[in-house]
Amino acid sequence: MPSKKFTLFKIVRTTVQFIAFIILNACILGVCERITIPLPILYPSTVPTTMFLGGFDVIQYRISHAIFPFIALGIFIVVAATVGRAFCGWVCPFGFLQDLMSYIGYKKVTVSKGAHNFLKQIKYMVLFLTILMVGIVGVLTAQDRGKEFIDALGYYAYQPFTPFSPSETFFTVIPKIVSYITSNPSQLRVLLDPMLLMDLIEVQEPILVFRIVFLGILLTLMFFIPRFWCRYLCPMGALMATLGSEYSLLTIKRNIVRCIECEACSKVCPMQIPVLKVLKEKGKLMDSECIKCMDCMFICPENALSITVME
């Protein structure tokens, strides 16, 4: 049974995530001026209400157009060096969705150490393949060659990851489909004919069936494995980890006098980091997977963990 302090903290973090979601979608409140600042979160820039740009979209777009993403990369490095992957834990809307799913989840599953260590490498592969793809397209664009190749790639040439992004499926594609169906009452008859409905939507969104099935699988997994997407598949998290989030100025330290080594911190970690082991070895919570959610700090029954900056 979690302590009152931990429950209160969870409410605070969920509130912060909700407020961040509203600020990201400030158009809901009538502020529709888009600020072209890329944030290190997985949020599609195609959401009509969004005020900021999703970082990974910007990186893909600029590299594939043979423009070096100075500002985006600069922002990500500054964020990684100061607060690490805190945007994943406190701002990212898809992370927020995963947290909500895990709160209502039936039973948490702990992935075996070997499988966890293997699976967490997949996101780096996703990042590598995406950068390789946009890099090739970027070089071809810069040299004004391979037009046929780029045309053949079509949808996938400039943003190869985006069509597979569950965040885009959830926040852009599904609302678009719902809006399409509800805004055309005459089209409601297609609901009775699934094949016709699929044909209609498939024209607008290629690989729609794959996207929805993929999102469905992820949403199911999120019930049992907290932050499944962030742990194993998110290329934005992989990029932040690669840019040095492990060495962030903001981190967590352990008071060795107070610590009773109960492992509560390791058990609560949504990223399945062996928190106590890392703290013992490095003195601070230096791990590239850490999303700075602070769950470990607030679950500690002895208040042995605390935030430290520039230490």
Partner: protein
Amino acid sequence: MMNMRPRTLALLLLMIGIALIAVGIDRGMLPQLKTMLKHFISEGPLGLP
């Protein structure tokens, strides 16, 4: 580089990040700002030639 203290490495990364942002602003946004400023001075409320 691996022998660096984490704080030193973080500060180094911070400086690299700031430098990249500065270069990005200089290359991308500064020309736009200059154009806006010129437009504001010549045709805006100042009305200078």
